[in-house]
């Protein structure tokens, strides 16, 4: 791009630039590679992978909403075995920097997934999606309870070994996200991913029932950007030394800059890719140019800049 210092870190992991895809919004990488070389991304974040193959939820799985959408994919995927056999080698062959997202239904699932991944070459970090239902606890979402959130992250920490940074992905559907953040950091997370989707529902006024087969779904897109900025700002204020991978409604360089100023060390692009397959690339170059125009000498200088004291 230029010689502007665009690199960033999440925990100990270094990335050439701070624009990533968001988990579940870039397929296996293959589908997007038609539109731009994946190696240009800061990182590809994979769809959350589970132990076993998953059919996901029934359709309809999506509903468009004002400046956003609901989805209820239900973590459809091939399971860790096929994932390691097919997806990772392919990403490596593309020169893509890769962050693997994992999701479990039990604390033990997280442990097994961590063990399966710890010796795999070509992975830069682990994103631990704990916004999924805990089958051992009435389906309550791990990330919605400090105790289960901690348990899931501890389970990964104990089993991952080595240097692979653990990024805990939190749900915004909680009363106090900063406290959950503290819990998972003290449980061993090196970084935080903020935010997962917000629980929502659309009722189809024709059928007069919930539009999604799964009734509720996750709200994403520009509609939730103010919630993401707030969550990142709150957590960065509480834990200024913990790196944050921010996401939620980013579609332009200006949007990404908001998240960075709030405290994000990198930014994932999710829903925007659906409207524009090149979104991550355009956000990247817009952010790059904006940071230079604003006089920053490096990307990292801008991280959390909105917290500086008034003069």
């Amino acid at each position: 791009m230029s010689d502007f210092d665009f690199h960033t870190h999440l925990g100990a992991a270094r990335f050439n630039n701070p624009i990533f895809t968001a988990s579940g919004c870039a397929g296996s990488g293959k589908e997007l590679s038609q539109f731009f070389p994946l190696e240009n991304l800061g990182a590809v974040v994979t769809k959350s992978i589970m132990l076993k193959p998953r059919s996901g939820r029934a359709t309809p799985r999506m509903a468009e909403t004002p400046s956003g959408m609901l989805n209820s994919i239900g973590l459809q995927g091939p399971g860790i075995d096929l994932f390691l056999e097919n997806d990772i080698p392919w990403l490596v062959s593309q020169g893509a920097t890769t962050v693997v997202s994992i999701a479990g239904e039990t604390v033990e699932d997280y442990a097994i997934l961590a063990r399966r991944l710890r010796a795999v070459p070509g992975i830069s970090a682990l994103e631990v999606n704990i916004s999924c239902p805990n089958v051992e606890n009435r389906g309550q979402v791990f990330a919605c309870d400090p105790v289960t959130a901690r348990a899931a992250i501890e389970s990964v920490r104990r089993n991952i070994g080595g240097e692979l940074p653990i990024i805990a992905k939190l749900s915004p559907d909680v009363t106090d996200i900063a406290t959950i953040a503290e819990e998972v950091v003290s449980a061993g997370a090196d970084g935080l991913a903020l935010i997962n989707t917000v629980l929502g529902m659309v009722i189809d006024t024709n059928t007069m029932r919930p539009k999604l087969a799964g009734k509720t779904g996750g709200l994403s897109g520009p509609a939730i950007r103010p919630i993401a900025v707030r969550a990142i700002y709150q957590v960065h204020a509480r834990l200024p030394h913990v790196s944050i991978l921010g996401m939620g409604g980013v579609a332009t360089g200006q949007d990404a800059l908001q998240l960075v100023l709030a405290g994000a060390s990198a930014v994932s692009i999710g829903t925007a890719t659906f409207g524009n397959p090149f979104a991550a690339m355009s956000v990247q170059s817009e952010l790059h140019d904006l940071l230079i125009a604003k006089g920053f000498s490096s990307f990292k200088e801008a991280v959390g800049y909105a917290h500086r004291s008034e003069v």
Partner: protein, 284 residues
């Protein structure tokens, strides 16, 4: 780079024509090289609402015709039904406006290597991709019968040049306002028998495709259909557009209708799964 949507590109395509045709709008777009890559059954994904719109997702439209003019110039034509906010916006765009178009996307109808007797069945604007298909089949020496159905005459899309491309055209409407009163499934069995149909190609509402699948199964003819599931991305990255499809290994998988479709083998689709995951689906 993988082989998915290998020839897809993203262009700002100028609208060169926008004419009302019954309940639909026939829209022609100047798309450059894209036209050269289109095969019958492919679709495009179009951004809607303009800058600052609250609609964040593209809308998919089947390609009705594509004309490669050479020298990197080309045109595609769409048949748009103004339905909700997005399609109504597309239909209302004036000549000269530019649309953000990605295409061609998805699978195409399989073309037999031998001359066969084909029956093309379209429901509503589902007729759109069939005329281009018909031209290709005719060029291969196939006999082409066509059945078009809709609720009412205004929703039958059958332009003159389209009609010319088929050997025989039957029209059904539920209200009898044109053609035979009834549904396409009322007339298909006879046509299959009379004309010794080898293969059915269809496009239209999911209920219609399911009914045709049943007929095709009973009559033991092949059936390729273009499905229409709600799509958020159209390029295979979101997993919203899936439907249960039985593979060659007998296993049902939730396949993406945007990249493993829209054209699928009707016999493989598990149609009766509405709002549930069929038992035995891989990963269920």
């Amino acid at each position: 780079m993988s082989s998915i949507n290998r020839s897809a590109s993203n262009v700002y395509a100028e609208i060169t024509s926008n004419r009302k045709a019954g309940a639909y709008h026939h829209i022609a777009l100047s798309v450059g090289e894209m036209a050269a890559h289109v095969r019958p059954g492919n679709f495009v994904a179009i951004s809607v609402g303009g800058e600052g719109s609250s609609m964040v997702l593209r809308r998919a439209f089947a390609i009705y015709r594509s004309v490669d003019l050479g020298n990197g110039q080309g045109q595609i034509e769409l048949v748009v039904a103004p339905h909700g906010q997005g399609s109504t916006w597309v239909a209302s765009q004036p000549v000269g406006a530019k649309l953000n178009v990605i295409g061609p996307l998805g699978t195409a109808f399989g073309i037999p290597t031998e001359p066969v007797r084909a029956l093309l069945v379209g429901g509503g604007y589902g007729s759109a991709p069939l005329f281009g298909l018909s031209e290709v089949l005719k060029a291969r020496g196939c006999r082409v019968d066509m059945v078009l159905g809709a609720s009412t005459a205004m929703k039958i899309y059958a332009p003159l040049e389209g009609k010319r491309s088929v050997n025989a055209l039957t029209i059904t409407t539920e209200d009898g306002s044109t053609g035979i009163q009834g549904r396409v499934s009322d007339v298909i069995p006879d046509i299959i028998d009379t004309n010794n149909i080898d293969i059915i190609y269809s496009c239209g509402p999911m209920g219609m495709l399911q009914a045709i699948t049943d007929i095709a199964r009973a009559k033991e003819v092949m059936h390729q259909c273009a499905v229409e599931e709600s799509m958020a991305c159209g390029i295979g990255v979101c997993m919203t557009c899936v439907l249960p499809v039985r593979g060659e290994d007998g296993v049902i998988r939730m396949l993406r209708s945007c990249i493993d479709g829209p054209v699928m083998d009707g016999a493989d689709v598990i149609w009766e799964s509405k709002r549930t995951i069929p038992e035995g689906t891989w990963g269920a």
